[in-house]
Amino acid sequence: MTEPEIKQIIFRSLKKIAPDTEPEKLNPDDDIRHTLEIDSFDALRFIVDLDEQLGVETPEQDYGKIATLRNLVNYIMTKKK
């Protein structure tokens, strides 16, 4: 799975959870939750959704590793390998 493909899935998922945001405009190093104002409940829905779409399970202790778009993409790419 390529980086653009993963990004597409991430954006679609974010859009589903926070319809009025524009995830495409995220900079690679923006904190996703902070920038899009996503609360803990929606964050969990996002992670559940990513799991469903990509089959990547993110344990709680890894939450810190997926805070930005760049990190999240890297995390998924590593996991998918």
Binding site: D39, F41, L44, D51, E60
Partner: protein, 386 residues
Amino acid sequence: MLEFKMPSLGADMEAGTLCEWLVKPGDKVKRGDIIATVDTQKGLIDIEVFDEGTIGELVIKPDEKVPVGTIMALIVPDKEPTVKKEEKAPVKKAEKKEEEKPTGEIPVTVILQGIKASPLAKRMATEKGIDLTTLKGSGEGGAITKADVENAIIEKMAPKEEKKVAAAESIRMAVAAAMSKSNREIPHYYLETKVDMSKALAWLSEANKQRSVKQRLLPVVLLLKAVAKALTEVPDLNGYWENGLHKKPDINIGFVISLRAGGVMIPAIHNIDKKTIDELMVSLNDIIPRARAMKLRSSELSESTITVTSLGENNAETVYGLIYPPQVAIVGFGSITEQPWAETGMLDVRPVLTATLSADHRATDGATGSRFLMAMKDYLQKPAEL
């Protein structure tokens, strides 16, 4: 023949517009069935029925806007088996009370104060369920007059598309009305305590390791559960103030959900004390997205007996809530932050939660509130028991 009336979905609701009947005359209904959708300031609400029987007559038509308490349909009751009767009685009583209140005094008190409107305009607005705070006055000195209210009535009859656009604004107005009433009428007292969350979070972390992503728990379920358990010990905070404290047997916590476009929805999560932690998480997963989409059921909007507001991560540390009338208390949870913690003569760094209680001093005193906070704090030290 039972009368099915436009329910009150909170102290701030004065009227609702029927969007659609989901039943027709002759259909059998039972308690909990959704029989209609109604457009309110809080979005499209599924309206449940509280009786068992057969739909007799649909009294109002789609797109009709009627004040709270107006008869919407008539239901022919089934022959009442004696067992059912017992089961039904307390429910009906509770519901009746909620209906009587808003049709009676509430519109008057909500509307009347601090708004420059002629006596006639105020009277008409009350009768027709118009919220004067949303009107601009055309009278001398900007006063709202009969003509302004009449225009508002005409506008309300106008096609619904416009209304949808204004959903965020109308929620804002609903919140404004309820909170103004709260601040005006309820003498609040405030208590605050800090809770060491290390045990609870450790327990949660372990619990989540054993769960799939989908079943994962959020800290808030522990908080809600602790509130419910503490309320079983201090029931005085679970109920309504209506010329006296009316304690409620069920613990239905209204959980504040902030909307992305502004405003809040406060759906009730029923009988939390009787739910397991996992059941509670399932309820939240069901109700929060529906609240955000403004797709709630009538019982979820009208039956909460206390409110909890939780700011979640990376937010302010302390929140003092305003009570949602006619309730008598609101519990506020700030963000959990690491703080120095002194215990048994030692200093440590712990995840600390600031919990507050705003309570109605007419209903209870500080000692009661304090007992509640201490009980809740105790439960959060024993997460496994929650």
